[in-house]
Structures are given as C-alpha cells and as structure tokens.
C-alpha cells in the first residue's frame, strides 16, 4: 500500500485569530501547526500501514517554516516527506493548490516508479474550513473520493470507508486508487516517542519547486491566477451586552434573572 498524505500548516486553532492594526489576520504570536484533520488523516494512514504494510509519503505546499511540521509527521508514521515550495505558488487559491498537489504527486510517482494507491487529506483545513482540496484533487486525478472518514478498511482492489454523517454513518466503497478525507475518528493521533523524534530529525525532507514538475501550468497558480479574490477582511459586529447579575447568593441571582426573563416575556 503506497499512501500519500497531504498536510497543510495552519495557525494553532485553539487560539482566536483577530485582525491587527493593518487589518490583516494577526498570526504573529500563534504557533503554526499541522492542520488538526490532517493529523487525524496521518494517524489513520499510519494504522492502515501497520495493519497491511506499505509506505507513507507526506507532502505540504507551504513556506520553509512548514519543514518543522513535516518533521513532526516523520516522527509519527510517515516514511518520506516533501515540501512543495516556490515563490510562484504563494497565495494560490484551492484550484492552484490542487493543481500543484496533483503535479507533485505525479512527480513523486515518476521518481519512485510507484503509484499512490490512496491519497489522504483532512476533511477541511481549520483556517478557512473550505473542504475543497480533497474532492478537487480526486476530480483532477480522475479518481473517486470519500469524505469525512472515521474509519477505513482495505481490500485487494477497493476501500470500504465509514463516512461520518449527522445522524450516524454511511459505509462507502470506492475503487483504488482514490482520495479520502478524514474527520475526527474515535482515536487520537499518537505522540512521537523520543526515539522516533530523533530518527525523524535525521531523515531528509525533499524539496519540490515549480521547475521540478513538468506539466505544471503557471497560469493556474499564484496570486495573479486566483478564481476567488479577497476584497475585504473585517471582524463580525458585536452584540450589545445587557445586564450582569451577581447577587449575594446564586439563588437570589437565579430568581432575579427569571423575573427579568418573565418581564421580557421570553418564555
């Protein structure tokens, strides 16, 4: 089983992002991390590899700082890692990202003379929560896609996946190769052991740039070629705060609140 996992580096999603004085997202003091859903995807891929052997390659399109994220992936189950980085790719939209990821996958396949059987993505990146790249990548590659996985099972020529739904789940089958996108499974991603951390530090991280990819189209990537453009960023309007009740006892506070609610005829 030859697996590709696509990871995106995003600002730590446990920190609230606000606009700075220049009206840009203030990310200065927020640690960049691997998108949470991508860590779930890598964990699911690692479990699959352990149960049926195979290799995992991770790719990340991003700036040089993403190397650190890739190292972390090498410490928790990935065998190979590539940073896809080129000034020409900066500020690409999802069409551009998908185009680059597809061509990077093709390049790695050609270099290793091995096709990817499965491509894992997160269900969405926590920055803009688009959830577009996984299905778009499948469409570009002409293969199937199953989204929102919470479990996966492998047969010789197909995968059977448990797709999370609002009311429960669906069992979905797809031919291989295919793309899958991962939601939060029942388990948590593993922590790296010290030994694996040390080993990961020594492993090389491959670099892929524009000129390494033969079929890449310059007119699909970069800021000038986006199909979706930001016009304006702003923070949502705040609601006016009302009254805060803090009486001697909780009982008094509760009674006062109920009286106000009754007055306002809200129940």
């Amino acid at each position: 089983m030859n697996i590709l996992v696509c990871i995106k580096q995003v600002p730590d999603d446990s920190v609230e992002v606000h606009l700075n004085a220049e009206g840009k997202p203030d990310l200065k003091n927020i640690t960049p991390v691997v998108n949470a859903f991508d860590t779930y995807a890598l964990e699911m891929a690692a479990r699959l590899k352990e149960s049926s052997e195979g290799e995992i390659t991770v790719v990340c399109m991003g700036d040089a700082s993403a190397k650190n994220s890739l190292k972390n992936c090498l410490a928790v189950g990935a065998d190979y890692a590539f940073l896809i980085n080129d000034a020409a790719f900066e500020d690409s939209d999802t069409r551009g990202i998908t185009h680059v990821l597809k061509n990077a996958a093709k390049k790695i396949e050609a270099d290793t003379d091995k096709k990817f059987d499965l491509i894992f993505c997160g269900k969405e990146a926590t920055d803009a929560a688009l959830g577009q790249v996984g299905p778009m990548l499948a469409e570009e590659l002409g293969v199937g896609v199953i989204t929102n996985l919470i479990d996966i099972q492998l047969d010789t020529d197909k995968v059977t996946a448990k797709q999370e739904t609002e009311e429960g789940y669906r069992t979905v089958e797809s031919k291989i190769p295919c793309v899958v996108t991962v939601s939060k499974p029942e388990y948590d991603p593993r922590y790296p052991t010290i030994k694996n951390k040390m080993a990961a530090r020594k492993k090389p991280i491959g670099n892929i740039t524009m000129s390494d990819m033969t079929n890449i189209k310059a007119e699909k990537v970069g800021k000038e070629n986006t199909l979706v453009n930001a016009i304006k960023l702003y923070e949502p309007p705040k609601k006016e705060a009302g009254v805060k009740i803090q009486e001697e006892t909780d009982e008094d506070s509760a009674l006062k609140a109920v009286a106000m609610m009754a007055e306002a005829k809200v129940f």
């Binding site: 469409e139 293969v143 031919k175 199909l227 129940f267």
Partner: protein
C-alpha cells in the same frame, strides 16, 4: 455564454422534501436574478420527486428542472455531480448555488474542478456592489474574521450556509420541466452500500424558538441533564458546545456553532459556556440570550442580554422551579 444571467440552484431532498437550506437559497437567488435580469432555475434530482419540485416552484424558482428516474432514488455523489455538470453545460448559469449540507459540500468542489469555477464555501451573506459585482461573505478562522470575496470565473459556485438566509414569503408559480439527463456509467467511482442512523430523535435546532445549551461547565453527564430538563420545561431544543459533545454528554447533532448548527431562536440559554467565538458565531441571531457562568469575565457575558454570575449547578435547579411556578400560575 458569459452574458447568461441565470442563477441555478441545486435542491437537495431528504425523504422527498427539499432540505431547509434549499428553500432559503431561493431568496438570494431571486435577488441576484432580479438584479441581473436572469431567471432562478432550480434543479431537483431523485425518484418520485414531483412533490418536492412543486414546493420549489411555489417557493421562488422561475423554473424547476425535475430529473426524476428510478436510477436517482439513492444518492450517489458521482452520479449527481455528473447530472449537475450536464445541466450546467446546457444552462450555463452565471452562478450555481448549493446548500451547505454534508453532501452539498462535496458536490461543490467536484463541480468547481469540472468547470474551473471559483467556489465560495460557507457563504453567510451575498450582496451586489455598485459595479454589479457579486460579493460573498465567508468566515475565516472559525468566524473570528469575516472575508468578503469575489469570484472572477464564469460560472461561479457558492455553497450557502444553512440558516443564514430567510425563506421567501410570497408564494410563486414557477414552471416544472421534466428532463432526462443521460449519464455515463464510467463516472461512478464510489458507492454508498449502507446508511446507518444512530440517532433516532429528530433535532431541529435551526428552527427552534427556544434553545438551552450546555458546555463544559456542566461538569458531567448527570448534571448535563439539568440542561435537558430546562429545555423540556420551555418546550425547547437542547444545544451543546463542542467540548460537551467530545465528553460524550450528548450526541454531535446537538452542536451549536461554527462547525455545528447556526441558530436563531427567540431565547437562547447558555449554561456553563465560556463564549468562544466559534460558539458565539453560531448564536448571534438569537433574539434574547441568557448566560450562566461562574467566571464574571467570561466572554459569553459580552453578548448576553441577561448574564448570571454563579454556579450553574445551583442556578439551574432554582430557575427550573421558578419557571415551573410561573408557568403553572399562567
């Protein structure tokens, strides 16, 4: 082609009825179509879906294309995407609206790739600016920042957030056109072999008039029951924050917020909830918010009409008793 002004709306159905967001999408669709001088063309796919088509025709669509055949009885993403792609080629709409359901969120990027169409996700608002440009508002970073975007491609695709647009009030009489679409069998890569419902209850947070929600501050599953008691008493629906769900106190279908349901009740009671932006962004359209939190600096108080600083486990039983008394006296 690029001067076609029609707005195409994909209408998802569940048990033979249009899903809620499908009806909601008709109002911005109509506004855009009117401004551009085009038509609202709705598309319904399924088997025996005449009733759904009828509802859409009466809810604001100028035309309803009905793709009604046994092979569409069961949802298959590849098949439905192929049908929609064929219709898009034929109609060549300026914009395709898709409702932000789980399946809608999958179909949109597939179609976006097929047509090299820019795609806006989780659209909360749509306006036309002075130059006639369509501007879509989408959340970033869990809704702490909003982004106005434009799509430069033709066609454009927008996935609309459920609950963000009001349904049209006037009933209309659009025409229903039955259509056959031939799809190629080799478009099918994946199949749904089983659908399992683990949650029997129907939870309709989006249309609830009263919602009582509990967060991590409820402490444990037993005490979380107080939230359910108050909700029952008020004839409301129970909501929850993500941590309450992760703790297993209640199922995911009750989640309110950015990655859960966006709600707009008359009364929202937040119990033991801190008020993180990802939660607040889902309750901003509530008419009246009551919050109970022991931390007087909790951000939830910044949006609450009435904030109670206190221990939720002491406050809730008293509120329940007192409201019972008032109700009985009525």
């Amino acid at each position: 082609m690029a001067d076609c002004k029609d707005i195409m709306v994909y209408v998802e159905t569940a048990e033979g009825n249009p899903v809620k967001v499908a009806l909601e999408m008709l109002s911005p669709a109509k506004e855009l179509a009117d401004a551009k001088g085009g038509k609202v063309i709705a598309v319904v796919i399924g088997n025996n879906i005449h009733d759904a088509a009828q509802k859409i025709a009466q809810a604001g669509a100028d035309q309803v294309l009905m793709i009604d055949a046994p092979e569409y009885e069961k949802y298959n993403m590849d098949v439905y995407a192929d049908v929609l792609a064929n219709l898009m080629k034929e109609i060549s709409p300026e914009v395709l609206f898709i409702g932000g359901t789980q399946d809608g969120k999958d179909l949109a990027p597939i179609l976006s790739s097929k047509f090299e169409a820019g795609c806006a996700s989780d659209v909360m608002n749509i306006k036309i600016d002075d130059t006639g440009k369509i501007v879509f508002t989408c959340p970033l970073y869990g809704g702490t920042i909003l982004e106005d975007i434009e799509i430069t491609s033709f066609p454009k695709i927008a996935v609309l957030r459920s609950g963000a647009f009001p349904k049209l009030e006037d009933s209309t009489t659009g025409e229903i056109i039955e259509k056959q679409v031939s799809i190629s069998n080799d478009c099918i890569h994946a199949n749904i072999v089983e659908t399992v419902k683990e949650i029997a209850e129907s939870v309709n947070l989006e249309e609830a008039e009263v919602i009582v929600s509990g967060g991590r501050g409820m402490g444990n599953k037993d005490d979380f029951k107080m939230v359910e008691d108050l909700s029952n008493l008020l004839g409301g629906v129970v909501g929850a924050t993500r941590p309450a769900i992760e703790e297993g106190w209640i199922s995911k279908i009750h989640q309110v917020g950015q990655s859960g349901k966006i709600v707009a009740p008359k009364l929202y009671i937040a119990c033991g909830i801190s008020g993180a932006t990802q939660h607040i962004s889902g309750i901003m359209n509530s008419d009246y918010i009551v919050a109970i939190n022991k931390d007087e600096d909790a951000p939830i108080f910044e949006v609450a009409n009435v904030g109670i600083v206190g221990d939720v486990k002491k406050v809730l039983p008293i509120m329940i008793e007192e409201i019972k008394k008032i109700k009985e006296a009525q």
